[in-house]
Each structure stands twice: as C-alpha cells, then as structure tokens.
Amino acid sequence: MALKIGIAGWSLLPPSAEIPGALDELIYSSTSQALVDAGITIAEIDGVCMASSDLNDGRAISTMTLTGSTGSFHKSEMRVCNDALAAVWMGAAEVGSGAAQTLIVCAWNKFSDVVDPAAIPALALEPSMHRSLKYHPDAILSLRESQESGTIVLTDAAPLQPNDTAAAVVITTDGHPKAGDLVLSGFGSSTGPYLRPGEPVLKPTQSAVAAALKFAAVPISDVRRIFVGGLHRISSADIAEALSVPESSIVREDPQTADLGYAAGLVALVHALELGIDGPTLVISAAGLGVESANAVLVEMK
C-alpha cells in the first residue's frame, strides 16, 4: 500500500558537546524554528510525535514538563522510547490514518546535563545475570562479530562523545498546501534478538532497509545516498556491503563518534534534507546493545 507523507519544514540544533540553556529551551528552539520553516503556526498542528529517554533526561516521565516546548499542549502526544526514526514512522502512521493532518516529529538529547552518560546503556542489560558482567555495547558488538567471523574481534574504538542536540520535522498529508516538494515514501523497521549471537550484526538494518524500499516500491539500485544515524562502530564499508551499495553513497555523522542518543535518526534525516534530496534517499539508524534495533525511511522528490 502506498503511503506518502509530506515534509513541510525542519530544524536542527547542530550537535555539540554542550548547548547552553535548559532542556525545554533547547526543544522550543528546534520545534518553533521548524514551524517557521514550514510556514505553519502551532495552532495548525494536530499533534506531536517525539522520541526521548527518561534516563537521559533525568526524570521518570520527562515529557511532563515539556508540553510547552514540544508543542503538544491541547494536542495528541505520542512518545516513543526508541531511535527517532521510529517516531518518524509512528508520526507517519498518525498522518496516514487520517488522525492528523499536520504533525511535529521531534527528538532531543542533552547529555551535558547527565552525570555519567556512559553508565546508561548497561542499565538495559538483564539485571541478575548480565549486568554484573559489566557488558558494554562495544564488547557485545565485538562478541557478535567474533561469532559471525569465526575469529576474535577486539574493540579498540575511541569512546563515543556525548552530544547535545535537538531536531524537529513538520510532516503533513501529501496534498497539504504547506507540504513541500519532498515526501516520506518508505518505512521499515526490524529488531534483532537480545544479546544472542548467531545472526549477522547488520541483519536488522538490512531487514529495515528492505522493508522501507519494498513499501515504496523503489529498488536499492535507485537509491542515491544513505544517511546513517548511530551504527557508530560499524564501518561505512561494512554498511555498504551489507546493503549492496557503493561505499561512496554512505553519509555519516561528523564526527562519527558523536553519541546523539535517541535523536540520531532524526538528526540524520534533517542532515539529508539540509543537504538537498536529488533522488531516492535512505535514512537509516540502528541502536541497542548490539545495533539490533534498526529503522529506515525513504525520502523522495514528488
């Protein structure tokens, strides 16, 4: 079934080690600028779909205090706790279902407020057996790659650099008067097993990409560029090989070691939009203990 979602505007606070200001100021700056870019007022917005992490934000229901800055007051609020590309396809579902005509998709990360960001991923480990072993996502990835290759793979990567950022995209129905020349036309997602080795590390990413392309009926050979959010420890060459595309089509975060939390996928999407779309463009992200949670969206010109 074809589903095309209009893109009316976007905004990005470029990732940085510390963006001064309170969290809600960071978010407001991004969402309000996206509305200006779209030429749409907050009164015309039907809802907000957001991606955020309580642990990164420092409170048990962090979005309670953020309804003003996200723009969700008196509107629907749908929040996902996954990479923000999941918020994009969830938002697309709200628009595609007819429940909303216009929607803000937003995500943020303010690691500069977090005492020890590196301690958070380990809390996703099963508490009785695995957490005490002090697994680290990098070590898990190495173990899985070792199993996959049949040789010992060691981790010697530089530590990730926690970054602050905020991004927002205003999406609409395809025929909305404020929709621009670009549409979201493909949506894919896949999830790998918890810790268990035995399948290729990039299998969820491959599945997500395949699903997005199948949904849009676009062959991989037509894709011009692939913007990558997350997947920090995987080389561009490995991603290109897994997706059967030339390495030159892969566009990464700069620096590749910037940890953007749940915002990574939306930052990659806005990065793609800002650079200009000249043909079918994939935006992908993968996160988790072993990049097992993967998402992909396809952006096309009308």
């Binding site: 205090t65 997602s189 999830t191």
Partner: protein, 393 residues
C-alpha cells in the same frame, strides 16, 4: 472513524499481584502474549509489528525493558516500538497500534503492556522524580497528595463527600470479585472504606489503588482481515490530549477547573467525533475508565460527557454507574483493584473489547455493544480515549 478501521481480535492478561515472584518480567510478558494470541486464534507469525507499553521504566529497574523481553513477545525480526506517556502508556499504545493499521503500514499488530512495580523499593520516590527538578521535587508533592488536592477542590465544585467516595470504592471492589484477574479480591463495606487508614485528607487507603505486577496484550488487525473472524471489537474512534504541566496553570485557566480534567474531555471529544457519538450517556453501554482513585472516577463522569457540568455526582447518588445501572463504569473493578501502571490503560482497552465482544465472563454487561476505554498519565495531564463497538459502523 478513519477509512481503514482497526479491530481487536483478542486480549490476554496475567493475574495481577503485588509481587509475581514466580516469574521474571519477560515471563510475565510471555504469559499475557500467549493468552492474547490464543484468545485471537492467531499465531506469532501472523504478527507484523509490535507496540510495547511500559513506563516509567525506572519501575522495572531495566533501561529499555522491551529489549530484554523481545523473545518473550516474539519481536525478533519485527518492527518494535515502545510507547511511553506515563500512566497513559497502555492507552497510547493501543491507539498507536490502531494508527499503524489504519495507515496501512501494518496489517496485524500486537500491543503489549508490562509493569513490574515490585522491582522498585519505593515507588513514591520514583514518582517524585516526575516533577520539576528545580522548583518542585523538594516539596515532595506526590501522586497521593496531588490527588488529595483534586478531591478537596471537588468537595467545593460538586459537593464530593466521603459517602460518595466510599460508594465508588465498594462498587469497584464488588465488581472485582467477579473478575478472576483482579489484584484485590476483598468483600468490603462502606464502613470499611470510611474507617480505612487516612493517607492525605480526604483520601483513605480504600479510596486508592494497589501497586500491581502484571502484563497485558491485545491483538489488533485491519478491518478487512477482521471480517474473517467471528469475535471482533471494532475501533470506532480514538483521541489523546495533553494538558499543561503545572497544576496551577490549570486552576487559573478560564475554561478549566482542577476538579474536572479538561484534557480527558478533549480526548473523549476526538474519540466521540470519530465514532459518531453525540450523546455518550445514551450511546455508550459500558465504560472502562482509568481512575486509580475513587474521587477521580466521579470527576471523570463529567469529563467523559456522561453528566452535565457539576452534576457527575448524581451518577453516584442514583447508582447509575453500578453493574446493572444505566451506564456501568469499570465492571472489571478497574484500576482501583489492579494497577500495573504502564499496562493499566491497555487492560482498560482490552476489558472494553471483551465487553463489546460479549466475552467478559461474570462481569459482562448485558447487551453491551459500545464501550469507552480511557487512560490517564502524569498528574491528570495525558489522557487517551477509545470507543470500541461490536459493529464496524
């Protein structure tokens, strides 16, 4: 109703208890998902995507609890998204599942809710972190004191008394005796409620809910697919709405009163509009409302459009919301008798589906064909509403 309606095929829930020592979090999930799949006569291979509801995750003691539960709900190889809108999470997840189907993104969606509050030694300490860290956390406002403020205002607004709250408590505890999955099975009297331990004036222990461990799951599918099944609950309308964070901002608004949460009204308005409901009291047959305190349920009657402004209390005084009354509210016992927070909204949704499918067992409302299910999160801030019916139109 949107053009491609979603429908509910089956519902599964665990027995709710203070502590489920016999199982882990993922095992709880497996229990509920297995029951839902069996109830819907579906196989895990029929599921195209999963919406996971669990929040706040601090209760679980595990960051991103969907990841370590993934094999328990059969999510490997599938799209999985975790929804979190505080206590409204289960309601939001159900709506998310419906939107994924209605948009044509997926045909059949499994919605899973989990909460294991027993993993945290002090739930109120967790709740305290929901408030503004600079101005409010030191005040030690918590859910009980916050709702006590609402009850105080309701005494002024519509004349709430201890008798009204006691009636609602007894009604819900009596209903729970008919529901084998309810956490609390207690035969209580009005006097038991009025003599129960004071918490924060005017609230007492039996005006509120337990802390429950448990899980729930719902299988939803497209309208086209649903027509091949005999037992179906149709999603006729849905809405969710958010209010401002600060309670003071709601007291001062010209169109707002702390006694009556306007955001539930907004959510219901959207759901009713989609469903074509113009007279809720007469068009709805049963309501599964997310009300963890007796006084909140009474305030919600007005928000849900069951009573005119300031007269929701009359539904108590006439017994209209009792099982067998004009408009039964929480025939399952509701979340005053089982409250696995992140899953509670999904339990309300599933119970409403069972009612319109005529499969609610001993707490079935005779002839129920249209039901409303709601959920609430934050301090009366996030609300969802869904209208389910036995017919697609």
């Amino acid at each position: 109703m949107t053009s491609n309606a979603a429908a509910i095929l089956g519902f599964g829930q665990t027995k709710f208890r203070t502590v489920r020592e016999d199982v882990s979090g993922p095992e709880l999930v497996f229990e509920a998902v297995s029951a839902a799949l069996a109830d819907s006569q579906m196989d895990i291979n029929d599921i195209d995507a999963v919406v996971f509801a669990s929040a706040p995750e601090v209760f679980e003691g595990v960051y991103e609890p969907d990841r370590w539960s993934i094999e328990a709900f059969g999510g490997v190889g599938k799209p999985v998204v975790r929804v979190h809108t505080g206590g409204a999470t289960g309601g939001s997840a159900a709506i998310a599942g419906a939107r994924l189907i209605e948009s044509g993104l997926y045909e059949t969606v499994l919605v899973v809710g989990l909460q294991r509050t027993s993993e945290t030694p002090d739930a109120q300490a967790v709740f305290t972190t929901i408030f503004d860290p600079i101005f409010e956390q030191d005040v030690q406002l918590n859910v009980i004191t916050g709702i006590a403020l609402v009850a105080s205002r309701q005494m002024e607004y519509f004349g709430l008394t201890e008798d009204h709250m006691a009636w609602v408590s007894k009604k819900n505890f009596d209903n729970a005796l008919l529901n084998p999955f309810a956490h609390l099975h207690k035969n209580i009297t009005i006097e038991d409620v009025k003599n129960s331990r004071p918490l924060a004036w005017p609230l007492r222990l039996l005006h509120t809910c337990p802390r429950s461990d448990g899980a729930a799951a719902v299988v939803m599918t497209s309208g086209a697919n649903a027509k091949r099944h005999k037992s179906v609950a149709w999603m006729r309308g849905a809405g969710h709405a958010t209010d401002v964070y600060r309670i003071g901002d709601r007291i001062k608004d010209a169109d707002s009163d702390l006694a009556i949460p306007r955001a539930l009204g907004w959510a219901c308005d959207d759901a009713y509009r989609e469903a074509g409901i113009t007279d809720p009291l007469n068009q709805l047959d049963v309501v599964e409302v997310y009300a963890p305190f007796a006084n909140l349920e009474i305030g919600y009657y007005e928000s849900m459009g069951l009573a005119p402004s300031g007269r929701g209390i009359e539904l108590v005084e006439t017994g209209a919301t009792a099982l067998g009354g004009k408009i039964p509210v929480v025939p399952s016992g509701g979340c005053m008798t089982a409250n696995p927070i992140g899953a509670t909204g999904l339990v309300r949704f599933g119970e409403a589906a069972l009612q319109v499918m005529g499969r609610a067992g001993d707490h079935q409302v005779d002839g129920a064909r249209v039901a409303l299910a709601t959920a609430c999160g934050g301090i009366d801030q996030f609300y969802t509403a869904a209208v389910l019916a036995s017919d697609p139109e």
